[in-house]
């Protein structure tokens, strides 16, 4: 990619998730001539998995829209230009021409920057995504998804974090492309897999970002192996209170048809229209794999017995005052609720995001990325 001249900012198609190669422009929320500010939603792009907004990273005036609604666009493609009002039209045209010429060259020599990899830990084959950033001498980040999820749940967040430091997102056993047979399906067992993962990769100390069940796994690691945990970022975590929506857990396990799963997955989002046919199909494809049903029942049996959470880390978290902790929750979460957010202590930074459900890292990706980056920057 080429650096734009002063005063000019390129709007390009982001890469959301490993499999994304292109997207379709759904609509633009702004028109040429509009003043643009950072974090403003500029347009919506639909991928094979989900529709998401592209947010502005800059201030200026929208000067060009280069891809209309309905257009299929490749990742990295220039789709718009924001510039200061003072920049001449000719300079913008020159930038667009130069960018497009470079983009063609770039595409020709581009190699996959991240890799899907496997590692075998305690007889379980673990799949993970690695984005290694050797330029930045910062502690790496390990991301842990939730119950029934996989590393793809971080599709909107990985690239942002990888720009700053190395990041690893693994599939817990029983999930994603990892082994479906679980050696130990307790929270302790899941935490042991993540710890062993960190050890095997020689990570020593790392930031833990966990969503839902992954949040409880992250806390278990920080509690039992404090030397490994540089910080905790917990997104709608399990393990802070005892209530969990049993209709979600049981419905996700029992659901066999598209109809049933759609109803269940809609509980994850504030905006139910985000639940696309592809999203439901992908979940069904996962659930049909041999061993998944057993794995989910085993984990739920340990972590959510009788429709309650078996582990509550609230008291531990209150006492872990040396640990930087950020908690992010969607205000419209229908799955996990924050029973004990009050009084967790000064070291716990709590953010509630309006108009987001149980998956704020997808539904409000821009906001969550901003919070995660602030959290990571603040950690020494």
């Amino acid at each position: 990619m080429i650096d734009p001249p002063p005063g000019i900012h390129a709007i390009t198609v982001p890469k959301w998730g490993l499999s994304m190669e292109e997207g379709v422009i759904v609509c633009w929320h702004v028109k040429p001539g509009d003043a643009i500010r950072p974090q403003q939603d500029l347009l919506d792009i639909e991928t094979s998995k989900i529709v998401n907004a592209v947010e502005s990273q800059c201030t200026g005036v929208l000067r060009r829209i280069l891809a209309p609604p309905g257009a299929t666009v490749a990742i990295g493609q220039l789709i718009g230009v924001v510039a200061d009002a003072a920049v001449a039209e000719a300079d913008i045209d020159a930038f667009v021409a130069e960018f497009q010429q470079h983009h063609v060259l770039l595409e020709a020599e581009q190699s996959e920057e991240s890799q899907a990899r496997f590692i075998t830990l305690d007889k379980q084959r673990i799949h993970y995504l690695a984005f290694e950033n050797t330029a930045a001498p910062r502690l790496p980040v390990v991301m842990i998804h939730g119950f029934g999820g996989d590393s793809g749940n971080w599709m909107f967040n990985l690239a942002e974090i990888a720009g700053r430091q190395s990041v690893y997102a693994l599939d817990l056993p029983g999930h994603g492309a990892s082994s479906k047979s679980i050696t130990d399906a307790s929270l302790f067992g899941l935490a042991a897999v993540v710890s062993a993962f960190g050890d095997a990769l020689g990570l020593n100390k790392y930031h833990l970002i966990g969503h839902s069940l992954g949040g409880a796994v992250a806390m278990e690691i920080a509690k039992t192996r404090p030397a490994s945990a540089a910080s905790l970022a917990l997104i709608a975590p399990a393990g802070l209170g005892t209530s969990i929506n049993p209709a979600y857990i049981q419905g996700f396990i029992d659901g066999q048809s598209r109809r049933e799963i759609k109803r269940i997955v809609e509980m994850l989002f504030f905006d139910k229209t985000l639940v696309s046919r592809e999203m439901v199909d992908n979940i069904l494809r996962y659930k049909r794999l041999d061993g998944v049903d057993k794995a989910l029942r085993e984990i739920a049996g340990h972590v959510f017995p009788q429709g309650r959470q078996a582990y509550d880390f609230s008291d531990w978290l209150k006492g872990a005052s040396a640990l930087p902790v950020t908690v992010i929750w969607g205000a419209a979460d229908e799955v996990a609720s924050a029973d004990h957010l009050d009084g967790l202590g000064e070291h716990v930074d709590i953010h509630i995001i309006a108009d987001a459900g149980h998956m704020p890292q997808m539904e409000a990706a821009g906001k969550v990325n901003q919070l995660l980056m602030a959290h990571l920057s603040a950690c020494k």
């Binding site: 066999q256 494809r285 794999l289």
Partner: protein
């Protein structure tokens, strides 16, 4: 996950299931190939199109059984084996041949569970090739799955792609009822991403290939691709077609059929089985009876003509339902409520 053809997906399903369950046996004409020849350890064919190639080498002659050219013996042996605790996967090379061996599944295997009060079961699969398009003439080109669909106690599935082929065949093998598994000859080379792990797709769960709000197009097996081609043409005219592949005709996902008509009010059914008493007619009757008030236009049925499949290439091409017929039918139902 890797890209696999329908052929590879079927082979993989057989391989993984045979490794998992020693009671699974294959039987059919040339499923090994070369049996009885002077050359020892010869695996000559692996079926007429090579689908079972490699299985004899791993599982041997006791589990990959070459049979004489006697369809009645193949299905009779399978039905008996199923009743006595095996899980046979029999190959009826061409579905057109069911006439000589139908008794084993029509009047025997499909009745056992019912007649013995649930104390007997018939976990057998009949893999069979269907479909026109290979210039194989009138006796090797038919798709008689409407006949199998009409038999209570018999299940009937027809995958349209490699993902479905693997998952539906594994389901068929694990199912305790007899299943006719229809493989369309023109689809074997179609490839897509298929998980390396085993998985089963439940029967009676339609696949929605494309969502649309104007007209529902229900299509089976290779007709799914013709429907998709038509949907592209219709999209350029501003008509949004929903494409539904029921994947199995028995059981049939009637919930999805009603749901899609609820949304569009217009239904076009594309079915290669028969011009009379086919699966399309069955679906049309069901929707008329259960969802008549939702319909904005008469249901359109697209089938081949009521003739044998012609050997003349020019005539065979006209015989197979084509995209332009679906497009015209969709335009007709779109105009009906103007």
């Amino acid at each position: 996950m890797t890209s696999k053809t329908v052929r590879e997906a079927i082979t993989e399903a057989l391989l993984q299931e045979m490794r998992r369950d020693p009671s699974i046996v294959l039987m059919g004409e040339d499923v090994r190939g070369g049996a009885g020849s002077a050359v020892e350890n010869l695996e000559a064919w692996g079926g007429v199109l090579g689908v079972t190639k490699g299985l004899w080498s791993e599982f041997g002659s006791a589990r990959v059984i070459d049979t004489p050219i006697t369809e009645s013996a193949i299905l009779g042996m399978a039905a008996g084996a199923a009743m006595t605790g095996m899980r046979p996967v029999a190959e009826l090379m061409f579905a057109d041949f069911f006439g000589v061996c139908f008794d084993a599944i029509y009047n025997q295997a499909s009745k056992f569970r019912y007649m013995f009060g649930g104390k007997a079961k018939s976990p057998m699969v009949v893999r069979t090739m269907i479909g026109a398009g290979l210039r194989a003439a009138a006796q090797h080109s038919q798709s008689p799955y409407h006949i199998f669909t009409s038999v209570p106690g018999l299940k009937c599935v027809m995958p349209a792609n490699a993902y479905d082929a693997k998952g539906l065949l594994i389901q068929a093998i694990r199912d305790d009822d007899p299943v006719v598994f229809c493989e369309h000859k023109t689809l074997y080379e179609k490839a897509m991403e298929v998980p390396d792990e085993s998985y089963a797709i439940p029967f009676g769960e339609a696949n929605i290939l494309r969502e649309g709000s104007d007209v529902s197009i229900v299509a089976f097996s290779s007709m799914v691709y013709v429907a998709l081609e038509a949907a592209d043409v219709l999209a350029r005219e501003g008509i949004a077609a929903e494409i539904i592949d029921p994947r199995s005709s028995s059981p049939l996902d009637t919930d999805t059929l009603v749901e899609t008509v609820e949304q569009t009010g217009r239904l076009v059914i594309v079915d290669e089985s028969a011009a009379r008493c086919g699966v399309a007619h069955d679906i049309a009757a069901f929707v008329s009876q259960e969802a008549f008030a939702l319909l904005k236009a008469p249901i359109q049925i697209i089938t081949p003509p009521h003739t044998p499949v012609p050997f003349s290439p020019a005539l065979e091409d006209v015989w197979i339902p084509a995209a332009d017929r679906i497009v015209r039918a969709a335009r007709t139902v779109m105009r009906a409520d103007d």
